[in-house]
């Protein structure tokens, strides 16, 4: 069975490495700030006991005051999983660092999130619209689109 | 003395010279054209039904009894379609290409012996004529690909030139083996020299010639010119209407022509007991064509670099060695009992094929970019 790691324990480990990164944590997920996201991701990938080498899912949810970008991570070696989240409160120009340098699977998923939600991923090599055509105005999956 | 020449001599007694020269010619051409067109239609039907049986389904069987009117319906449909020419294409070459592909196919049938003296003209360089004429189709296909102003057609055209040029060489060398054993270039002499069919006397030559002509015909597994899962119909992608019909009929005409040539060169043409010669000829042509359809149904297609290495590193050295061995046999042992020659040649062919399959791999790999 893939064990879902307890978010609070992982949050404590993250705080030891980069203090102040964790915003909130509960049993299911860890929420970090977007500035520290890249360092936290590298820590999660490279630490031998955690070893999260597989980024399964990258998506975003539009709670009306903020966007929340959700990352589902799995470690194939230890067979455990974790949910990592980050929030951005700026609705006009939300910026989150890109994970393509660490996990290449973020490539298409970040493009799709940019396309449908409007979140700009800083550092993505080719941030163009994926599903909609170039020149489309707006970001359809936002709650205030239609 | 062919039947036509006999007819002309008889007419020369009755009519003036120019009529005695013209009428047998026209009669002969009409007969040959009718033969070719009818057989091409039958071939289309035969292939579609046979392919269906290989693929555990029935072929077309609605139009007419057992579907024999299906090719006519196909031909009518194609003829009635609108003839679309791309705007930026080279109009003259686009128009000329189907002609250049189709006409050489018809010209090959001038020297195919259907019966004992039933041949249009008995050229004493018959087989050289066949080789020369069949090479012209390659130019036609290249013209079709180039003039379409379409990148897919261009890829197909360039592949064509590479494929057809490289497969001419093993084919010609295999023919030379047959010519050495028959002692003459004329088609009727080659048929007459086959007391034992050259299929058994020169098995390696037969295999090389067969594979080489399947490649010349652009049929599976060498059909990457019209690979419809990659370049979507290749060189005739921009053709419709009558021009496409000429390409389509030309493809089956090629198949028919090369089946006839294989029958003449290796299967002893029209010879056989009991039945009239033309029936034997048709049986053998259909047998060869069935094997070709069988190859089409079973084998996937080769990639272009694998195809080229098969021709240059596989077939060509074997063809040269085959020619050398046949020449040695003809020089030193011309009067030996033919069955000993059969056994020797079969053993030699087996050894060579085994050796080549060990040493030779269909190469080509990743290119560093």
């Amino acid at each position: 069975m893939t064990t879902a790691l307890n978010g609070e324990q992982v949050a404590r480990r993250i705080n030891k490495v980069s203090p102040g990164a964790v915003v909130a944590s509960d049993k299911a997920a860890v929420v970090v700030t977007s500035e520290s996201l890249f360092k936290v991701a590298e820590f999660l990938k490279n630490t031998p006991a955690l070893d999260f080498d597989y980024l399964t899912d990258l998506t975003a949810v539009d709670y009306t005051d903020y966007f929340e970008v959700v990352y589902h991570l799995i470690s194939l070696k230890h067979n455990h999983s974790l949910v990592l989240k980050t929030r951005c409160h700026d609705r006009d120009k939300p910026v989150v660092p890109s994970m393509t340098g660490i996990w290449r699977s973020a490539d298409f998923q970040e493009r799709e999130t940019y396309d449908l939600m409007g979140i700009v991923f800083d550092g993505h090599p080719n941030l163009k619209r994926l599903l909609l055509w170039e020149g489309f105005d707006g970001h359809p999956l936002r709650r205030d689109y239609l | 003395m062919t039947l036509l020449e006999q007819f002309r001599l008889w007419l020369g007694g009755i009519w003036p010279d120019w009529a005695a020269y013209l009428v047998p010619g026209i009669v002969g051409i009409v007969v040959v054209l009718a033969f070719v067109v009818v057989l091409v239609i039958v071939f289309i039907w035969f292939e579609r039904r046979l392919l269906g049986r290989f693929q555990i389904r029935l072929g077309p069987n609605r139009l007419g009894p057992e579907g024999i009117f299906q090719p006519i319906a196909t031909a009518l449909k194609i003829l009635l379609k609108e003839d679309i020419v791309p705007a930026k294409s080279d109009k003259v070459i686009h128009w000329l290409a189907p002609v250049i592909v189709f006409v050489p196919v018809l010209m090959i049938f001038a020297v195919v012996p259907i019966g004992q003296r039933a041949i249009l003209t008995d050229l004493n360089v018959g087989i050289v004529y066949v080789v020369a004429v069949s090479a012209v189709s390659a130019v036609g296909i290249y013209m079709a690909g180039w003039a379409s102003n379409n990148k897919y057609a261009l890829i197909a055209a360039l592949r064509t030139v590479a494929q057809m040029v490289s497969y001419e060489l093993p084919v010609v060398l295999a023919i030379l083996g047959v010519v050495l054993m028959a002692g003459s270039l004329s088609m009727t002499q080659i048929v007459a020299a086959q007391s034992i069919p050259f299929l058994v006397l020169q098995p390696l030559g037969f295999v090389i010639f067969f594979l080489g002509t399947v490649a010349e015909m652009n049929r599976s597994p060498f059909d990457l010119l019209e690979a419809d899962s990659e370049i979507v119909a290749g060189y005739h992608i921009e053709y419709s209407g009558m021009k496409f019909a000429m390409f389509y009929l030309g493809e089956y005409g090629h198949a028919l022509a090369y089946s006839c040539i294989i029958t003449t060169l290796f299967l002893a043409g029209w010879q056989g007991p009991f039945l009239p010669p033309i029936i034997w000829f048709l049986i053998k042509v259909f047998a060869v064509f069935s094997v070709i359809v069988w190859m089409r149904a079973t084998l996937p297609r080769l990639r272009v670099d694998q195809l080229m290495s098969f021709a240059w590193k596989g077939l060509l050295p074997m063809a040269i060695i085959n020619l050398f061995v046949i020449a040695v046999e003809m020089l030193w042992l011309p009067e030996i009992n033919l069955w000993i020659l059969v056994v020797t040649n079969i053993v030699f062919a087996g050894v060579l094929v085994l050796l080549w399959s060990r040493l030779f791999s269909l190469g080509g790999g990743r290119v560093e970019v």
Partner: protein, 367 residues
């Protein structure tokens, strides 16, 4: 003297016999060698994620059918598993067994189609396709017996399946399961030692194991590269832990391995089907679930092993009748991330066959 050459851009366009749907690739070619490739998608985008936010949980099930339309029941399965995980609903035993039977039969049908069309892309003129579709027709007849549909089934419901199987289903399924290994042997006899097939697929389009993990490939693509990761064994969902089956793993990660893994997976699916038929209990097939389901506030990520990879559904609920956010993790879109690595340096013909071996379905990529 150096001849000047220049690469040209070819559009293997949305309409093409071998792109398995409306998929466009802008390929930069140098002669016949692929230099660069850029996939362009979105031709089948229907906005399913946005539509999901305006429909009740049960109304989304027909929408999920149209994602991976070649393996529709697995989409239904993944979605209802996610909702049941979110709402804490327990499914009756008979329904669990029926779901497994349908999922594994779906896997066989999807792999038959995938392998058949992969070899069709290589140029074998539909012959393997027609041999494999002979069996697929039997499977589609079985599905029609159960839910009346051949392509988009809409069979699973939240809390079970929509209706019980008719009487003639089990004998027909037993007959199919008894004959199928013989048919797979027939395909192997036709294809496994075929010279041209081996020459075209061995060593072509290699995806190394660590690239596969980094680009989150899943399903047969990941297993062919040597990584033994199958969600049915690693994270068993439903009642997969009661069945005994192997997970075939390839060695090199070339086209031939992907084809081989799929053929072996079909054999293992037949094994699971035999065990499921033997253990099938009686009982009801649909738990008592309110018509308008109000799951508690929270989020869930439910994933299963579909024939193409890891299909996941991410649901965020705010205790209303429709989900707040409905996101689909498409296996084939993420498998395509590594397409450029697999294809650059090979020829046009290899591009088509490698793309065929990844086995994409555009409904899932574009949603």
């Amino acid at each position: 003297m150096v001849i000047k050459t220049e690469p040209f851009i070819l559009n293997i366009g949305p309409q093409h016999p071998s792109t398995h749907g409306v998929f466009r690739m802008r390929v930069t070619l140098d002669g016949e060698v692929v230099v660069d490739i850029e996939p362009v998608i979105g031709y089948l985008h229907r906005g399913i994620e946005k539509m999901g936010e305006n429909r009740t949980y049960t109304q989304i099930i027909p929408l999920t059918d149209r994602l991976d339309y070649l393996a529709s029941m697995t989409n239904n399965f993944a979605y209802v598993l996610a909702v049941e995980k979110l709402a804490g609903i327990k499914v009756p035993e008979r329904a669990e067994y029926l779901r497994i039977i349908m999922a594994e039969a779906m896997r066989i049908s999807s792999h038959l189609m995938a392998v058949g069309f992969f070899i069709n892309d290589l140029g074998a003129m539909m012959t393997p396709v027609l041999y494999m579709w002979r069996e697929r027709e039997k499977l589609l007849d079985l599905f029609e017996m159960v839910c009346g549909q051949r392509l988009t089934y809409n069979y699973m419901r939240i809390g079970g399946v929509s209706q019980d199987i008719p009487e003639e289903f089990l004998p027909a399924l037993k007959k199919f399961v008894a004959e199928m290994p013989g048919f797979i042997d027939e395909y192997d006899q036709l294809l496994l030692q075929n010279e041209v097939l081996l020459a075209r697929t061995k060593g072509v389009g290699i995806l190394p194991g660590d690239t596969a993990i980094n680009t989150a490939a899943s399903g047969p693509v990941l297993r062919a590269s040597g990584v033994k990761w199958d969600l049915r064994k690693a994270d068993p969902y439903s009642i997969y832990d009661r069945f005994d089956f192997d997970v075939p793993v390839g060695t090199v990660g070339d086209n031939y391995d992907r084809y081989w893994v799929r053929m072996q997976e079909m054999r293992q699916s037949v094994r699971i089907l035999e065990q499921a038929i033997a253990q099938l209990p009686g009982g009801e097939v649909w738990a008592k679930v309110p018509q308008l389901l109000h799951p508690p506030v929270g989020e869930v990520y439910g994933h299963i092993e579909s024939p193409r990879g890891e299909l996941g559904f991410f649901l965020v609920s705010d205790n209303s009748i429709a989900p707040y956010r409905f996101h689909i993790r498409p296996p084939t879109l993420i498998n395509l991330t590594a397409l450029k690595d697999m294809v650059v340096g090979w020829k046009v013909a290899d591009l088509i066959s490698t793309f065929g071996s990844i086995d994409v379905v555009l409904g899932e990529i574009d949603r």
